[in-house]
């Protein structure tokens, strides 16, 4: 297993220049994600238009894998419905933890760049942290009422 399978160019690029890396004061949903093992801390912000994700951003600090994964997430789920985003979460979960037999990696677009993480079990949580955080944000119905 080559290190370049983990730190692919697209991962390195998204770590150096994370997209949608900003706080969103008027977010409809937000959630904090924390990986105590390595100290990664992310906040994911979501602005909804009905059941569609109109805008999404993240903020915080973490390793290259967690930052790049969060950056790629924001690009992938913007404009998607909540159900579509959850479908992507499920596919990503499979991509990161199981053989990708049965998953069309090309359909995942840039997210497919994270497939190398599977070979580094200690790093799977880094890549999945942002997805769990998005999932928590989308399901925190309580926060909707505080808008």
């Amino acid at each position: 297993m080559d290190l370049k399978d983990l730190y692919r160019d697209i991962i390195v690029d998204h770590n150096r220049h994370p997209r949608n890396f900003r706080e969103m004061p008027d977010a409809d949903r937000r959630a904090d994600g924390f990986n105590p093992l390595c100290g990664d801390k992310l906040t994911v912000f979501v602005k909804l238009d009905g059941d569609r994700i109109a805008d999404v951003s993240f903020h915080g600090s973490g390793c290259a894998i967690s930052v790049a994964s969060a950056s790629l997430l924001t690009e992938s789920v913007r404009g998607k419905t909540i159900a579509e985003a959850e479908g992507l979460f499920s596919q990503m979960h499979q991509l990161l933890t199981r053989d990708d037999v049965g998953i069309d990696v090309t359909s995942l677009g840039k997210l497919g760049a994270l497939s190398g993480v599977r070979e580094f079990p200690a790093r799977v949580k880094c890549a999945s942290l942002c997805w769990h955080t998005l999932d928590a944000a989308l399901h925190q119905q309580d926060q909707v009422s505080t808008e």
Binding site: N15, R16, C38, G39, C63, I65
Partner: protein
């Protein structure tokens, strides 16, 4: 010929080539390259002598201790108690009654918290620790505070990673019932000048516990010279097995403390009306102990003493100085913890490369270091860091391994910086 045999009669430096032959794991490769094991503060490796002592015990003499009249039980007891005497001599305790076998440093500290602190402390009492403690010297006291209403006080540290003595002294008061300090910081490597702290505590009649997990493997520890009341350490950080450690306690204090756990071996007589507890040290050793672990620890002590703790300390200090010099030339590298007195531990960060990525990239080069918060989250918070990378050296490490560490850091910077 093992390194120990080679060392006998040689007053000079250690023969690292011979020493490395004593440690089977050092010959292995990781991802196709030779292992450079620089994570000794987390756990050290074992020499063949330790592995053999444990195997030999299981192959020839295992039975339960302190119980049977048969030959094997007697042999096991002799080996187990022989290991206790080796520990006593190693730390210069007055008596084997003061040497309690536990699972490790963490259990030793919990034992003191629950047996010494819990029956005696009450609201208004204070326990004084420092900001650079390992979680194992924080959490047991927090639990004790919840149980008794006592208060945990924390002496601050300086930017260089030293415990601020004046602030510590100012926190000592008639309310202070116990001082619990690291002897050597696991996260930063700082050697705390504990004599000064102990003297200040003793002047107020406050007992002192030292967390010696990082000190015992790297320097000569003499509990009588230190004049501490409790001293806790682990076997696995000093070339011994996991699952075995030691609590040294001053006999008068241990005598006054109630047992912590109840069960076999810690009793003299049991009836449903009344149980008579065993004497020291068995009062604190309920259940069948880690016999093989204690024997392995005894073998580790034999190994370290044959090399000589002074020579081990000198070899590790030379590695530390070499690493400091080489690492200082890595662009973007910042040392975390720069106390003048340090064990062979270097904590650092590299600009634009997260420690977690460093750990993965270095592993790819066969270089094993620790990355993360090092079970000392308050220290990380003090420096405003989520994590650091930490290289920690043992006497079996080489300058060539440090060169490989430095080379791998350059690779990481090129890749991600």
């Amino acid at each position: 010929m093992s390194a120990v045999q080679a060392a006998a009669g040689d007053a000079g430096a250690l023969d690292v080539v011979a020493i490395r032959r004593d440690f089977p794991v050092l010959a292995r490769t990781v991802r196709g390259v030779p292992l450079a094991y620089l994570d000794n503060a987390a756990s050290s490796q074992r020499p063949r002598a330790v592995i053999d002592a444990m195997s030999h015990y299981y192959e020839t003499s295992h039975a339960n201790v302190h119980r049977g009249v048969h030959t094997l039980s007697q042999e096991a007891t002799d080996l187990f108690e022989g290991a206790r005497e080796k520990v006593r001599h190693f730390i210069n305790a007055r008596s084997t009654k003061e040497v309690i076998f536990v699972r490790g440093t963490t259990e030793a500290i919990n034992l003191v918290a629950q047996s010494y602190g819990r029956p005696a402390f009450s609201p208004g009492d204070e326990i004084l620790i420092s900001w650079l403690e390992h979680h194992a010297n924080i959490v047991p006291w927090q639990m004790l505070c919840q149980q008794t209403g006592a208060t945990l006080r924390v002496a601050p540290i300086t930017r260089s990673g030293e415990v601020d003595f004046d602030a510590f002294a100012a926190l000592l008061s008639p309310r202070t019932k116990l001082v619990a300090l690291a002897h050597v910081s696991n996260a930063l490597g700082t050697v705390i000048p504990v004599h000064r702290f102990i003297t200040a505590a003793k002047a107020r009649g406050v007992p002192v516990l030292l967390d010696g997990a990082q000190a015992v493997p790297h320097m000569k520890v003499d509990v009588q010279a230190l004049d501490c009341d409790f001293y806790a350490f682990s076997g696995h950080k000093m070339c011994g097995p996991t699952g075995i450690g030691v609590l040294y306690g001053r006999e008068s204090l241990l005598n006054a403390m109630p047992p912590w756990q109840g069960g076999g071996d810690m009793i003299l007589a049991v009836s449903f009306d009344k149980t008579v507890y065993n004497g020291l040290p068995y009062k604190f050793e309920a259940g069948t102990p880690d016999i093989a672990g204690a024997i392995g620890l005894g073998a580790a002590i034999d190994y370290l003493e044959a090399l000589g703790m002074e020579r081990i300390a000198a070899a590790e200090h030379a590695l530390l100085e070499y690493a400091n010099e080489k690492l200082a030339n890595v662009p973007g590298l910042r040392f975390v913890g720069t106390a003048p007195e340090k064990a062979a531990v270097v904590s650092f960060t590299i600009d634009k490369v997260h420690p977690h990525d460093l750990g993965t990239i270095l592993d790819h080069e066969g270089v094993a270091i620790r990355t993360g918060h090092h079970c000392a989250m308050p220290v990380m918070e003090f420096y405003g860091l989520p994590a650091t990378a930490r290289a920690s050296f043992a006497f079996y490490n080489t300058r060539a391994e440090i060169d490989r560490l430095v080379e791998a850091l350059h690779t990481a910077r090129e890749m991600l910086g």
